[in-house]
Every structure is written in C-alpha cells, then in structure tokens.
Amino acid sequence: MAIIKLRSGNQDMENYKVEKKVENRVPSNEMAHLKLKGLGNPMVEIENLNFFYGEKKALNNINMIIPKHQVTAFIGPSGCGKSTLLRCLNRMNDLVESARMEGAIRIGGRDLHQESENVSVLRKRVGMVFQKFNPFPKTIFENVAYGPKIHGLKNKAKLEEIVENSLKSVALWDEVKDRLNESALALSGGQQQRLCIARAIAVEPEVLLMDEPCSALDPLSTGKIEELVVGLKENYTIVIVTHNMQQAARIADFTGFMLLGDLVEFGPTDRMFTKPNKKETEDYITGRFG
C-alpha cells in the first residue's frame, strides 16, 4: 500500500519541504517534558544534533531521549535520515570520510565525542545489527566468540559459556548446538540474522542498534526476530530502524517519526499510532505517503 502511494508521497514531501521551516522539531521544552513524564532512566540523550555528508545536511537539529530497557523505533520514508541517526549512536558514520557532526550525544551520561572516548570501547557499549545479515565466514562458534575475543577474553571455558548464553538468548542454541564448528554461512537467513544478534550481545552492550534487521527476511523469520527483540529489552536498550510501521507498532515502546532529516514527532508508540500530534505523522501512518 505504501509502495503504491510512493509517487504521490513524493509530491507531498515537496509540499512539506515548503512548510517545514514553520514547525518541525521537538522543542527542548518538550524534551524536558519527556524527562519529567518519567520515561524511566534516559539511556541515550541527543541534543541539537546536526549531521552533514560533505555539504549535504542529513540530520537537522535532532533532540531526543531514548529510555533505558525499552524498544525505540525510528520510522520514516527512505532517505529520511533514520539510519544515519542510528549510526551516529555508535559512530559508525566515522567510516564515511566526508561525514561531520555537530551537537551532543550522551549514552549513559557519557558524551560520545569526548576526546577520551575510545570508539572501540563505545562500540562495545553500543552494539549493532545490520540490515543485511553478515556473519563472518567463520564457524558459528567463532562468530559469536569474535567480539569477546577481540576485547581480550582468552579463557576457553568463559568463551564457551558466553557463546552458549548468547545463542540461547536469541533462541538459536537448540538449532545449532551440534554444529558450532560448522560455517555460519550454512545457516538459513533468519538463523544468520539471529546469529548476528547473538554476536552483538556477546560483548554485553548497553544499547543494541538494529538497522532494519528484518527487511531481508521472510515473515516467519521476521516474527521470530520480533519476538526476540521484545524479549531482549529486559536486558538491553534497543533502538530499531524499520520500514515497516506494523513492526514498529508491534514491538516498539517508543516511536520516532523522521522526515527529511527532521525528527517530526517522538513519543510512546500507542499515542503515535492512535493520536499523532503532527499532520505529517498522521499522513505517513495512514499511508498517504511514504
């Protein structure tokens, strides 16, 4: 439905561009308001974030708070900057040569861009699961053990324990426990994606970023992953980017709607999908564009 509407949606986006200067951001006072509303402990705080690819501005003055041990989803049409925002959180954008960032991001109270902040340590704290499942061409065991190993863990028994626990928490253990030493590439797509999640949580991150983790999966595997995400929030703060609004509705506690680099609206998922404050949000959710 959304795809069919895409063409007219572009038209709407053009219209939107014109009016976006008028009113298009979550103001700081609302942020304070969010804090006050007791969204639990804020895990990630983003303040006045601007992001540029060369001359092109990709994120425009983003302010938000991502609460701890909740699932937060970013939705929005293609190119709205939701993946870029996600990648700001573990500084994966550093890999892009011309990228530049302004503003502040604090995770667990620590600024990502402090001089002393080691990107390697940061990424251990903020794990990531990619859109395209990408296990290493190694064995299942080696894939999961990779993270702990590079962070210096050598104890074999401890590694085995971590691998088992990680695979158990993604419900993959029973399926692969007899073939841990086989290539991870022999697994099915859904299994590979769960393996990637296991690999990410093996280093015990505080935040888990997921960049459209189900977009390459069949509905059955998608269901499993969604179930998993809901289960994982007990231990991790999860930020997920999705194309699929139903998915956001199903699993997210909070949802942020982004459009052309702006965070249009951010709030509890229930309210966002039932009573959106902004017209753009409503248009998007009801499928008028995007």
Binding site: N90, M92, L95, E97, S120, V121, L122, R123, K124, G127, M128, F130, K132, N134, F136, P137, K138, Y146, G147, I150, H151, S183, L185, C196, R199, A200, V203
Partner: protein, 748 residues
C-alpha cells in the same frame, strides 16, 4: 478478444516471435562462438604440449637391434678377432691361418689377402682394435702389427670399399720361440707400444717410435723392457693405461696390478691396485672405454664392472668401482668399445651385451641366435652395429639403432659418477673444451636453479607486495591509493629484459660494493620505522599531526633514511668487523665465494618483476572483501587493525594465495632476468651469493648450440616440458587450494 482487433494482435505477436527467434539465434551463435574459442585455446595448448613431448620422447626410446645378416665362412678354426669398416660393408675375421675379408652386403668372402710376413707361423693371439690397427701374436714368439685399411673408392656416385692389409715390421718378443698368447698394445701419434706376457708373471714391453723423415720414409726405433709383476696365480689379461702411461695386468687370482711405465724405479711403481678380496675369481677381460679413463673388468664369474683410477681424499690414486652390471652366466671374455661414445660391449660365450659406462645401464642383450658359442666380437666405430663370430665359422651382423645412448631417466635426473669426478654428482655441462669431453646432461641443477631463483624472488617480493597491498587497501587515504595502485601496476609493464639489464649492469656491481649495507637494509628500515612508531605512541603532538591514511608521507622519508643509514652503517661494519672486505671475510669465515651476478641480485630484479602482480591481485582481493563484514567487525568494537587481521585477511586469503601462486608461476617462467643477472653457472648451491642457471635461461643459452634432432636439442625440449609441468603443477595446486579456501571463506 474482438474480431476487429485480431489481425493487429496477430501481426504484433508474429513480429515479436520473429524478434525472439533472431535473439535466440544470436544468443546461440554467441554461445557457440565462445565455446569454440575456449576449445581452440585448450586444443592449442595441448598441441604445444604434444609437440614438446614428441620432440623429446625419442631420447627415452629403448634401442632397437636387428639381425642384418648371417655369414657362414666355412672356416674351421676358432676366430681370434673380427672387425668391420666404418660403413659396415666389409668385415674381417682373424683366425690361426690369417685374415679373411667378407662382404657384409653379399655375405660372401672377398678375394684372399695373404700375409707373407707370417712365414710359416700361425696366429695364436690378437690384440684387436676398433680402429683397425691390430697386433697379431704369432706361434714363433713374434708379434706382427697390421693396419687393416678400408679404402673408399668412388666411381661416379657409387662408393666401394676396398680392404687392404698393411703389415708392419714383425718383432721377436719371446726369444724362447714360444707362441704369443696374451698381449695388448696401444697406438699413439709417435708410434705404438706392445706388451706381451712372456711367462706367468713377466711382461715384455716394446715401444716402437716411428719417425717420418723428410723423404717420406719411416725410421723405427724399438726399445724393449721386461716388467715383473708380484703375481699370485698368473697374468691373464693386459691393458695399457695410456693417459697415465701405465700397464695394467689382470690375474687368474682376481688381482689387478699396475706398473707405472713413466717412473718405473720408484717404490710402489708396480703394485696391486684392486680386487684382491676375491682370489677365486679370475680376471678374464680388461679394457678401457673411449677416453682411456674408465676401466671395464670382466671376470670368470661373468661379472662386468667399471672402475676409475682416482685420487680421492688421501691424495693417493686408487681404482674405484663405479658401476656394476648384471653378470653374464658364463665368464666374461669378450669386449669391444665404441669409438664415438662411452658405450661398450661385453660378452660371454653364450650372449653379448651392450652397456653404457657413464650411467651404468645395460641397453641390449643378445643371446647367440643358434645357441652356439661366441668367440670374437666387435662394435662398429659409430656404435651402430655389432659383429660377432662364433666357434663354428659363422659371423652375425646386427644393426643397432640407439641414437641417444647417453640419455636415460637416470642420467637426466639421477646422480652420475662422471669420469674424473670424486663422487656421483648432478652436472649440466653440454659442451666442453676438449675432444674427449663427455657432455653431462643432468637437468637437476637447472631445476634447482629455477627453484632457487624463484625462492629468492619470492622472498623479496611476497613480504613487500602483500604488506604493501594490505596497507594500501586497508589504511591508505583513498585519493592516494588512486595514484599508488596504477603506478605499481605500471611496473608490471616494464619489459623484463630492461630489468635484467639493470640488474646485471647496475644493481650487481652496486650490491657487490655495498653488500653489508644491502643485507642490513631490511633490518635497519624496520628498526627506524619501529622507533618512529614508538615516538608516535608517546608524542601526542606527533600523533595529531600525522593523520591516519597519510602515514606514508612520514614513512617514505623514513624508509629512505633507513636505507641510507644502513648503507652508511654497512661501510662502517665492513671496515671494522669484516676485515675491510666482505668478500674475503665471507670466504674465510663461511668459505663462501661471492659471484657478482648472484641469487641476491636476481631476487631483487625478479622480485621487482613479480611485485606488481602479487600486489595488484592481493590489493583487489582485500578491497573486495564486502564492506558489511568490515562494518560488523568494527561495530563489535574491533579496531581497524583487528578487523583487517581477523576478518579481512582470512576472507581475502584465497585471493592472496592466488596472487602468490601467480607470482610464483611468473618467476618460474621468467627468462631474461635470470639469463642476464645470474652468470648462468649450473651449480647447486643455496647460497645467495652464488649464481645459478634456470631451466628457462638454459633453453635460451643453449639454443644456438643445439643442432636439430641432436641430444641437446631434444633435451631442451625436455627442459621446456619440465617448465610446462612445473607451472602446470603450481597452477593446479593453487587452484585446488584456492577453491578449498574459497569454500571456507565464501561470502554471501
């Protein structure tokens, strides 16, 4: 569907089917064309391989022997010797009554040629010779030299062979008038010597010097000596060792005794030199093969072995056993040698065999066709025919086709104890300075050379190319990489002849001058770079100034500085630790000689040729590792270095392996650089200061000296085949390993 629109629809669908047919046809054509092209290429390669095999295969063909004719002479006396002319048209047979010629074409006797010099004596023994100068031992104690001469008379296009006997002056040796039974002789330019056994342990030696005066007449000067041997048993055979001017005697008790004719009075001039351990065996035949170096000894048990008179470690010359041949079942009494090769013939009464002394293989065995007894044999001058006379007056004539007697698998790939060598060795020496020179055709030193050159080239190229590619693909600034990579690829376009030329004329002398510096360079540069890295870690200011990906601007000057430093340090080291001259030092401390054109220089030059290939393929395979693998490793908190080492490198390993193998293949086949920068000495030394000769360079070097169809010509094809096989094996291995690795590190 409405009827009105029907024709239009039909037309359109017709059109589209037509188009489809055409497209399918083009598709099929293209498929067939590509298939054909591939097939033609494979066929062409197979055809080349076939031609190569076709050219060298005759080397290993087993010899062919054909019984050309049987001649019944009707003579009743035992033959004492037989012989034939160069073209195997006329044969002669010596028995007690005289010498009789036969035509080998018509198998009929030729008119008798009487020997008036015999007077009334009979012939009791003959010292035969393949060159026709024979000595007859007579029943009255005299010896009579006879030149059996074959004159070629041409009338028009036809050639007829006219045999002639030119008797020399008979000499009375046994003054007691008893028949001469055991004798030997040798002929030189100044005359000839004859040795005759006068009793069980004494030998009379006569030297006849012939001087041609200006009028064309011949004056003879005869001297006679008696040599007494300390014999157990009796002297059974005699032979002159011409190159050492000695006389050797075999005895019935298995001894071989030697009398130095030059210095007869010195102690030990006459002594026992071998085979005393088998007193029950009698020496029944003894002679030298061509070149008078290798002695063939046959004994009463049928044994045939070759020995050489050699000075080994203690400096005392001795007879050394070289090869043992399969023994005859009856005493070995017959011998004849080729005058072209080291082939010789040994025979017992029931069979004759043709052997090759150099590699020690028996090539032909001929039993008597009618089960009778052979009494005299002769190998033709060219070694292409055998003549054998039996006890019943019959003469058998065989044609032997063995154009490459010297080449066997053993002589090409095995260790051979060549004449004058102290031990069996692998030697390649296709041409020599003297007429007696025997070509030595072991391909092992050349295979060794190829591997050695490749080894040093790879030793130099692999670390530089792979580490360079690693840095370029993983850490270097993208803009810089865009310049560096094509530049290095351009290096591959440099003709190897230029590299070889540079290596030989510029690098070689400079390396020789600054050898200690050259050797130290990698270590000094590594040290300097490590120091800089340490400084980088300590100094934050330095760290801030050098951006990741731009380290090269610091590293290049550092490397140059390190190189210069090591050259400077090298001269210091040389003057203070290496006695001022590294060549002398190397020679004295490691007894290593330094050749100016050596494996080190080749390693540098050939490494330079191989680096671009390895670099490019490695860089490509590293860069082609999917970005998402790198990203997921980095997202787990791995550093770029950890990511590169643990994710990128294993994933790219099939490509890197291919790169190394392709570089290896290139180095194996490389010709010009090794040809120009090695000195081409086929020695087998791993030392990097010695030269070598590679298979490929050998083909280039020897090609002008190899007449078509000759042994060398065919051997060069064999060398080409080996190169082919080597590259084939390397490539096949590489492909197999690569496929396995790729399966393991397959990426979706």
């Amino acid at each position: 569907m409405e009827s009105g629109s029907a024709p239009d629809t039909a037309d359109r669908s017709m059109h589209s089917i037509k188009g489809l047919k055409k497209r399918l046809w083009v598709d099929r054509l293209a498929t067939n064309f590509v298939t054909l092209g591939g097939g033609v290429i494979i066929l062409a390669i197979l055809a080349i391989l076939f031609v190569i095999v076709w050219e060298f295969a005759p080397l290993f063909k087993s010899p062919k022997v054909v019984l050309e004719g049987t001649l019944d002479t009707g003579a009743t006396r035992y033959p004492l010797a037989v012989g034939m002319d160069e073209y195997r048209e006329v044969a002669y047979r010596v028995d007690g009554a005289g010498i009789q010629f036969f035509s080998l074409k018509t198998l009929k006797p030729l008119p008798a040629t009487p020997l008036p010099e015999l007077f009334k004596a009979g012939i009791t023994s003959v010292s035969p010779s393949e060159d026709g100068f024979i000595i007859l031992g007579l029943s009255d104690g005299r010896v009579l030299p006879v030149q059996v001469k074959f004159e070629n008379i041409f009338s028009g296009d036809t050639r007829t062979v006219q045999p002639k006997l030119i008797p020399g002056k008979a000499v009375l040796i046994r003054e007691d008038g008893k028949p001469v039974e055991t004798l030997t002789h040798f002929k030189s330019e100044e005359g000839y010597s004859i040795a005759v056994k006068t009793n069980g342990h004494e030998v009379a030696v006569i030297q006849v010097e012939e001087r041609r005066n200006m009028m064309g007449g011949v004056t003879q000067n005869t001297s006679k000596d008696i040599i007494s041997f300390p014999v157990k048993g009796e002297i059974s055979v005699l032979v002159f060792h011409t190159v050492e001017n000695a006389l050797m005697a075999g005895t019935t008790s298995g001894q071989i005794l030697r009398a130095d004719l030059e210095d007869r009075d010195s102690p030990g001039a006459i002594r026992n030199i071998g085979k005393t351990d088998r007193p029950e065996v009698s020496v029944t035949s003894m002679d030298f093969v061509l070149g008078d170096y290798t002695l063939v000894v046959g004994d009463s048990k049928g044994g045939v072995s070759t020995l050489q008179w050699l000075k080994l470690k203690d400096g005392k010359p001795r007879l050394h056993q070289i090869n043992n041949f399969e023994p005859h079942t009856e005493p070995t009494t017959l011998f004849s040698k080729s005058l072209r090769t080291k082939a010789f013939l040994s025979g017992a009464e029931n069979e004759i065999r043709v052997h090759y002394s150099t590699h020690g293989e028996t090539q032909i065995t001929l039993p008597h066709p009618e089960g009778q007894k052979f009494k005299a044999v002769s190998l033709s001058r060219k070694g292409d025919g055998i003549l054998a006379a039996d006890a019943h007056g019959k003469i058998y004539h065989w044609t032997m086709n063995n154009p490459y007697p010297q080449i066997t698998l053993k002589s090409v790939f095995g260790k051979i104890w060549y004449e004058g060598y102290k031990e069996p060795e692998y030697v390649w020496q296709s041409t020599g300075g003297t007429d007696e020179f025997e070509s030595k055709f072991s391909l092992v030193p050349l295979i060794f050379g190829t591997l050695k050159g490749t080894f040093y080239a790879m030793l130099f190229a692999i670390p530089i190319a792979i580490l360079g590619a690693f840095y370029t693909s993983q850490f270097m600034d993208h803009r810089l990489k865009g310049i560096i990579k094509p530049t290095i690829e351009l290096m591959a376009a440099l003709p190897s002849v230029i590299l070889g030329f540079f290596a030989a004329l510029l690098i070689a002398p400079e390396v020789e001058r600054f050898l200690p510096g050259v050797i130290m360079t990698p270590f000094v540069i590594a040290g300097v770079v490590l120091l800089a890295a340490l400084f980088y870690e300590i100094s934050d200011e330095f760290k801030a100034r050098v951006k990741t990906g731009r380290e090269i601007w610091v590293l290049v000057p550092l490397t140059l500085f390190g190189g210069a430093l090591s050259f400077y340090a090298g001269t210091l080291v040389e003057s203070s630790f290496l006695m001022g001259d590294h060549r002398t030092w190397l020679n004295e401390v490691f007894s290593v000689t330094y050749d100016q054109r050596n494996a080190l220089v080749v390693g540098l030059a050939m490494g330079f040729a191989v680096i671009p290939i390895i670099f490019t393929i490695t860089e490509d395979s590293l860069s082609n590792v999917p970005e998402h693998l790198k990203a997921s490793s980095l997202a787990l908190g791995a550093t770029p270095w950890q990511t590169a080492l643990q994710v990128i490198l294993p994933t790219a390993s099939p490509g890197i392996f291919s790169a190394i193998m392709i570089g290896f293949g290139r180095a194996v086949g490389e010709t010009m650089i090794v040809l120009m920068a090695t000195g081409n000495t086929p020695v087998m030394e791993w030392s990097m200061f010695n030269g070598f000769r590679a298979l490929s360079a050998n083909i280039a070097v020897e090609l002008p000296e190899a007449p078509e169809g000759g042994t060398l010509f065919r051997l060069l094809f064999l060398a080409a085949f080996l190169l082919f096989v080597m590259t084939f094996i390397v490539n096949t291995l590489a492909e197999l390993v690569r496929l396995r690795l790729r399966k393991r590190y397959r990426v979706l």
